[in-house]
C-alpha cells in the first residue's frame, strides 16, 4: 500500500501543512497521504507496539481543556512510539481555572519550546485560533461539535483495511449528528474519498441542510440498513443539550440501537464501528459490540497509527 521508504526520511511531496485542524480543508490526496503513512507506521511498528526514532528531540504538548482518556493517551503513545517527548496539561490542573484566556495558556506552553500542541477544547474553532496565534504546529484533538480530524482518519483507515476501495461504499453515520465532531470529520473525509454517506438519526439531531452537500439524510434506520456497508454508531452527547432532543433513551434505542434483529437484516459483511466511549444498550447492544462484525477495538489501535502519521507529517513540514 505504501511507497514510503522504511526509514521515513522524506515527506511525501503532496504534504505541505504544519497544522492539522480539520478534514474539511484537506484534499483527497492529502487525506490519502496521511492514511498511507499511517499504514506504513503501523507495519513498521508491529501494529504500534515497537518504537522508532523519527521524531526524537521533538516535544509534544497535550493541551486538553475537555476530559479525555482515549484520545490523550493515543496521542501520547503515538509521540512516544516515534521517540518524541510529551508534556501534559489539563484545564483542571492549570491556570485556566484562574481566568486566563486559552490563547494565553497556549502561548505560555509554547514558550516552553514545544514543537507541537495537541488541543482539545469544547469550543469550535479553538485549534484554528491557536494556529493563528502560535508559531508551533497545532493539531486538533477535537473542538466541540465541529471536527475530530484524527478520529475521522482512524475511522476511514479502519474501513480501508477491510475495504481497500472506498469509492462506491455506503457508510451510515447514525445518531447525534448535530453535536458530533466525529460525524463532521467522517462526512468530509469519506465524501472526498468517494464514499457515499448517509446521516441517520432523530429529526431533532440530523439537519436536512446536509442534503445541500449531496449527503443523504434518513430518519428511519431500518429503511437504509440493507444498503449499508458500514455503520458508524455515534454516541448521544447528552452533555451538549439544553432540552432533550428525544423523549427517552428507551425510545431512542427502539428506533436506532444496533441489535441482533437489525444485524439479521444487514449485509453479511457489514462493518460495525463506534467512536467510543460506547453506551452499551443505547446505540449498540453488547452482542453486536463484541460480535464478529465489530471493528471497534481495531479503531483504537489505528488511532495510534494515524496520530503517528499526523505528527510525523506536520512536524516535518514545520522544519
Amino acid at each position: 500500500m505504501s511507497t514510503l521508504a522504511a526509514d521515513f526520511a522524506h515527506l511525501p511531496a503532496v504534504w505541505k501543512r504544519r497544522h492539522l485542524l480539520d478534514l474539511e480543508s484537506l484534499s483527497a490526496d492529502e487525506i490519502t497521504c496521511i492514511l498511507d503513512a499511517a499504514a506504513a507506521f503501523k507495519a513498521a511498528t508491529n501494529d504500534c507496539r515497537t518504537k522508532l526514532s523519527v521524531l526524537s528531540g521533538k516535544t509534544l504538548a497535550n493541551l486538553f481543556f475537555e476530559n479525555s482518556t482515549r484520545t490523550r493517551n493515543s496521542f501520547s503513545l503515538a509521540a512516544k512510539r516515534l521517540g518524541a517527548d510529551t508534556v501534559e496539561f489539563s484545564s483542571s490542573g492549570s491556570s485556566v481555572a484562574k481566568g486566563e484566556t486559552f490563547i494565553d495558556t497556549a502561548k505560555n506552553i509554547e514558550a516552553m519550546n514545544v514543537d507541537a500542541v495537541v488541543i482539545r477544547h469544547r469550543t469550535p474553532g479553538t485549534p484554528h485560533l491557536l494556529a493563528k496565534n502560535l508559531r508551533c504546529t497545532v493539531i486538533s484533538a477535537s473542538d466541540g461539535p465541529h471536527e475530530h480530524p484524527t478520529q475521522g482518519l482512524l475511522d476511514i483507515m479502519t474501513i480501508r483495511e477491510r475495504r481497500p476501495n472506498l469509492a462506491g461504499l455506503t457508510v451510515a453515520l447514525v445518531g447525534d449528528i448535530a453535536h458530533s465532531r466525529t460525524a463532521r470529520s467522517n462526512i468530509w473525509g469519506l465524501t472526498k474519498l468517494g464514499a457515499k454517506v448517509i446521516l441517520c438519526g432523530p429529526a431533532t439531531l440530523v439537519s436536512r441542510r446536509w442534503e445541500e452537500f449531496g449527503i443523504e439524510v434518513a430518519y428511519n434506520l431500518d429503511d437504509i440498513l440493507p444498503r449499508c456497508d458500514v455503520l458508524n454508531l455515534l454516541r448521544i452527547q447528552f452533555e451538549r443539550q439544553h432540552t432533550r432532543p428525544f423523549p427517552s433513551v428507551r425510545e431512542y434505542a427502539l428506533l436506532y440501537a444496533m441489535n441482533r434483529e437489525r444485524m439479521a437484516r444487514a449485509k453479511d459483511n457489514i462493518l460495525i464501528m463506534a467512536p467510543g466511549p460506547i453506551n452499551r444498550g443505547v446505540e449498540i447492544t453488547p452482542d453486536v459490540a463484541d460480535g464478529p462484525h465489530s471493528v471497534i477495538l481495531e479503531q483504537v489501535t489505528n488511532g495510534i497509527a494515524v496520530r503517528m502519521a499526523v505528527l510525523w507529517l506536520t512536524l516535518n513540514a514545520n522544519d
Binding site: 474539511e24 484566556t101 486559552f102 490563547i103 477544547h121 469544547r122 469550543t123 469550535p124 474553532g125 479553538t126 484554528h128 485560533l129 473542538d143 466541540g144 461539535p145 465541529h146 471536527e147 453535536h179 465532531r181 463532521r184 439537519s207 441542510r209 446536509w210 445541500e212 439544553h242
Partner: protein, 402 residues
C-alpha cells in the same frame, strides 16, 4: 454653489454673501448634511468602563459624523432611576463631544418583571425606553409598557428575540453554523417575537420601535403591518447591511454579534426593506466590548462591535455606491428618522434648527484600522476592509468639534 450661514448655534440662512468676519469652511465637492443621529448606542458607563466611557464613546460618535446619540441602558446598574439619567447627561455635557439622549429601562433593573418609573424617568429627560439586550420576554409587561408610554408619547425599543430559541447560540443558524458546529441563533427566534410585538403594538396603539431587525421574516411582517397603517418603526444595525454569516468561517469572535450576521437571503430581504421604506432607521449597533473579553473562545466571548466610526462609511460603501439608496434616503435613515421617532429637534438643516452639521468627503477611501479609533474598544469584523467616504468636519450647535 450654495452658502450656508450658521449663527448663534443655529442654521441662520442660505445663499447669503459673506460679510467678511465669519469663519469660512470650504465644502466644495463634499456632502453637507444634518449631523447623524444614532438611535441606540451603548456607552457602557456607569459600570462597564473597561468597554467604553461616555467620554470615549461620544468622541467616537463625533469622529463618525454623529452629532447626537441616544444611549442604551446597557450599564451596571442599568439606567432605571432619574439619578442615573442625570449622571449620564452630566457626564456627556462635561465630555462636550456630541449631544447625548438617554434611553432608560422599561423594567426595574432590566429584570423584565416590573415597570421602571417611566414617568419620573421622562421627567429626568429619558427619550425612550428599552431593556436593551434583554428583550422583554413577558408579553403582559410589554403590553403594559406600551400602554403606559402612551401617556408620555415615548417609544419603546424592543429587540425581538425569544430567548429560549436563542439560548447558547453564537451565530446565525444555517448552513455555515451546521458545518462549523457552532450553536445557532435561528431566524425564527426573531420572527416569533416580531410577530408578538406587532400584535401588542397594534392592540394597544403604543409606539413600538423594533430594534436591530435582521431577518426576512421580520421585514415581511413589518411591511405588511405598515401597509395596514399601524404606528410601528424599526431599525437595522450597520453590520447587518454588509456582512454575512460566512464571516464566521474563521471562528473569529469579532464577528460574534447580536443580532447575528445572517445568510445572504436575509441580507437581501433587509436591503429590499431599506429600499421600500419598511426599515426606517440604520443604527450604528455600537456595542463596545473590551479586547480581553473578545479574546476568549467564541462560545465565551461577548456579543458586540464598535461601529460609531464605521457606520457612515459602511452605508456609503454598501448602500449608496451600489445604488440601493440615494443620499437623501440614506440621510433620512441615519439622521432625520431617528431624530423624529425619538422626538428630538435634530436631523434637519432647516433655518432655525440647531447647527448640527456633518461634512463628508464621499469619495475618500480608507482602510479600517481599530488603532485609529477614538472608541475605548477595538473589536470590529471590519479590520483591514477598505471603505468609502470619510467624515471631514463635524459641527455641534455651531461649534466645530471634529
Amino acid at each position: 454653489m450654495t452658502n450656508l450661514l450658521i449663527e448663534h448655534g443655529k442654521i441662520a440662512a442660505y445663499d447669503v454673501l459673506p460679510r467678511g468676519d465669519e469663519k469660512i469652511i470650504d465644502a466644495t465637492g463634499k456632502i453637507v448634511a444634518p449631523g447623524l443621529v444614532d438611535i441606540s448606542a451603548e456607552l457602557r458607563e456607569p459600570g462597564c468602563e473597561e468597554d467604553e466611557t461616555i467620554e470615549t464613546g461620544t468622541a467616537a460618535a463625533i469622529a463618525g459624523g454623529y452629532t447626537s446619540i441616544a444611549c442604551m441602558p446597557e450599564t451596571e446598574p442599568p439606567i432605571d432611576t432619574p439619578a442615573a439619567v442625570e449622571f449620564v447627561r452630566q457626564k456627556a455635557a462635561r465630555a462636550k463631544n456630541c449631544n447625548v439622549f438617554v434611553i432608560a429601562c422599561v423594567s426595574k433593573d432590566r429584570e423584565g418583571k416590573e415597570l421602571a418609573e417611566i414617568g419620573s424617568l421622562v421627567e429626568a429627560g429619558a427619550v425612550g425606553f428599552s431593556d436593551g439586550s434583554r428583550p422583554v420576554q413577558n408579553a403582559e409587561l410589554l403590553r403594559r409598557a406600551l400602554e403606559y408610554c402612551l401617556m408620555f408619547d415615548k417609544p419603546i425599543l424592543n429587540h425581538p428575540e425569544v430567548l429560549e430559541l436563542a439560548r447558547g447560540g453564537v451565530m446565525h443558524e444555517g448552513r455555515t453554523s451546521m458545518v462549523l458546529g457552532l450553536a445557532g441563533l435561528p431566524a425564527e427566534a426573531e420572527d416569533v417575537m416580531t410577530s408578538r410585538d406587532i400584535r401588542l403594538a397594534e392592540s394597544t396603539g403604543g409606539r413600538l420601535h423594533l430594534s436591530n431587525i435582521s431577518t426576512t421574516g421580520s421585514v415581511d411582517l413589518i411591511r405588511r403591518v405598515k401597509q395596514r397603517g399601524v404606528n410601528l418603526t424599526c431599525s437595522i444595525a450597520s453590520a447587518n447591511i454588509a456582512l454575512l454569516d460566512e464571516s464566521l468561517r474563521e471562528f473569529d469572535a469579532h464577528c460574534k454579534l447580536s443580532p447575528p450576521l445572517r445568510s445572504r437571503g436575509h441580507l437581501e430581504s433587509c436591503l429590499t426593506g431599506l429600499k421600500d421604506g419598511t426599515i426606517d432607521v440604520i443604527a450604528s449597533g455600537h456595542t463596545p466590548r473590551a479586547s480581553e473579553k473578545k479574546m476568549q473562545d467564541i462560545d465565551l466571548a461577548p456579543f458586540g462591535m464598535v461601529s460609531l466610526e464605521t457606520t457612515l462609511s459602511l452605508v456609503i460603501t454598501h448602500l449608496i455606491r451600489p445604488g440601493h439608496l440615494d443620499w437623501p434616503a440614506a440621510l433620512a435613515k441615519l439622521s432625520t428618522n431617528p431624530a423624529r421617532l425619538l422626538g428630538l429637534p435634530k436631523g434637519t438643516l432647516a433655518i432655525g434648527a440647531d447647527a448640527d452639521v456633518v461634512i463628508v468627503d464621499p469619495d475618500a477611501k480608507w482602510t479600517v484600522d481599530p488603532k485609529q479609533f477614538k472608541s475605548k474598544s477595538s473589536s470590529t469584523p471590519l479590520v483591514g476592509k477598505e471603505l468609502c467616504g470619510r467624515v471631514e468636519k463635524v459641527i455641534v450647535g455651531g461649534e466645530v468639534r471634529f
